[in-house]
């Protein structure tokens, strides 16, 4: 794993997407960030759902200033950061602002340049992207160095994840994808789902994804979400917490 950023190395920028909504992106992004921070890494989590913010809701934080002010007023993103726990900061998005979900090319370039000036102090930058395959999803994935795709063992999730990977590969030249299988009954099921989609990716797109791991169905996750807290912090010994820690160790 990387040492804490002394300011010399660039942070690792990872986009977390899924295609289909509701498969657990935000929960995984938050807890992955928390796991990295617990390992003394400095992490910035960017809420990439620019028009329908979720990260602040999932963490139960009140947000007054968002990334919208950076885009519209040129506000320094550093002044918008919220510290969740030592080493874990969030850059929040806005809620109910459709224009933020459809930034122009110039706005995208401006945002990317501004973020790049902000992120040097971090070891990891995670982007919790929106659902779907809209503009913001694609350009955040394009901007990132690594792409984590979350899917669950059901046809719609697998199809949407596959479609997203296909677009990122065909149109943006992305070759490396890290898959996380969420809501599995067992590690065996997680591995089988991964091997299933890997076979299709290999056959039709000639790409081989990496398996980051799987997260089990776990009541503690549901409870933590309802309490608006990371399950890693509230239930550190739960199966989900053990799994997310293993995934963080592999990044």
């Amino acid at each position: 794993m990387n040492k804490s950023n002394t300011g010399n190395a660039s942070p690792k920028i990872i986009c977390i997407s899924s295609g289909k909504g509701g498969v657990g992106k935000t929960s995984i992004a938050i807890n992955l960030a928390a796991a990295l921070a617990k390992n003394s890494r400095k992490v910035l989590l960017i809420d990439g759902d620019l028009g329908l913010a979720n990260v602040d809701v999932a963490l139960g934080i009140n947000v007054r200033h968002t990334i919208r002010e950076t885009v519209e007023q040129g506000r320094d993103p550093l002044s918008l950061l919220i510290e969740i726990m030592p080493g874990f900061h969030v850059l929040p998005a806005s809620s109910g602002v459709p224009e933020m979900a459809n930034l122009s090319h110039e706005e995208q370039v401006f945002l990317a340049n501004t973020l790049e000036d902000t992120i040097d102090q971090f070891d990891y930058v995670l982007v919790d992207s929106a659902a779907g395959i809209g503009e913001s999803v694609l350009w955040f994935n394009d901007w990132s160095q690594e792409n984590i795709i979350i899917l669950s063992p059901d046809p719609t999730s697998m199809t949407d994840a596959y479609a997203l990977i296909k677009i990122l590969h065909s149109r943006y030249g992305k070759k490396r994808f890290n898959l996380v299988i969420n809501s599995v009954k067992s590690k065996k099921e997680g591995r089988e789902v991964f091997e299933g989609i890997k076979a299709v990716l290999k056959r039709f797109l000639k790409i081989e994804p990496d398996f980051l791991g799987s997260l089990p169905v776990d009541n503690h996750v549901v409870k933590a979400i309802r309490n608006q807290k990371p399950f890693l912090i509230t239930y550190p010994d739960s199966r989900a917490s053990i799994a997310i820690t293993e995934i963080a160790d592999r990044i």
Partner: protein, 110 residues
């Protein structure tokens, strides 16, 4: 999301394209008719040099001159005509890909 455009409303179509062009490094220039009605759009990659633009425009004028003959022959309203060169979107998930994805899941549930 793109909504269905009526083939009887080309101006609406041009306006939508103009709006979408703002999201890309593309310049959209309106072509207006005698009474300032919107007849069409020129879409150029941003940063194109003057000679390149002129060459491209020359090709467009040639195509436009041939249009009155082409359209009646091919039997399509030119506005709705889909060029034969437009293939399937290469990112569309094919039926073969879906079949393999789903067959894996069906095996698991047996």
């Amino acid at each position: 999301m793109t909504s269905y455009i009526s083939c009887n409303d080309p101006e609406a179509f041009f306006r939508i394209i103009e709006k979408q062009a703002r999201h890309y490094p593309v310049e959209a220039t309106r072509i207006t008719g005698k009474e300032e009605n919107l007849c069409g759009l020129f879409l150029f990659r941003k940063g194109l040099s003057r000679p390149e633009r002129q060459k491209a425009l020359g090709r467009v004028l040639k195509m436009a001159a041939a249009e009155p003959e082409r359209a009646p022959e091919e039997g399509d309203d030119p506005i709705c005509h889909v060029p034969k060169t437009l293939g399937e979107d290469s990112c569309q998930v094919t039926t073969e890909e879906r079949a393999q994805l789903f067959s894996f899941l069906k095996r698991e549930s047996n």
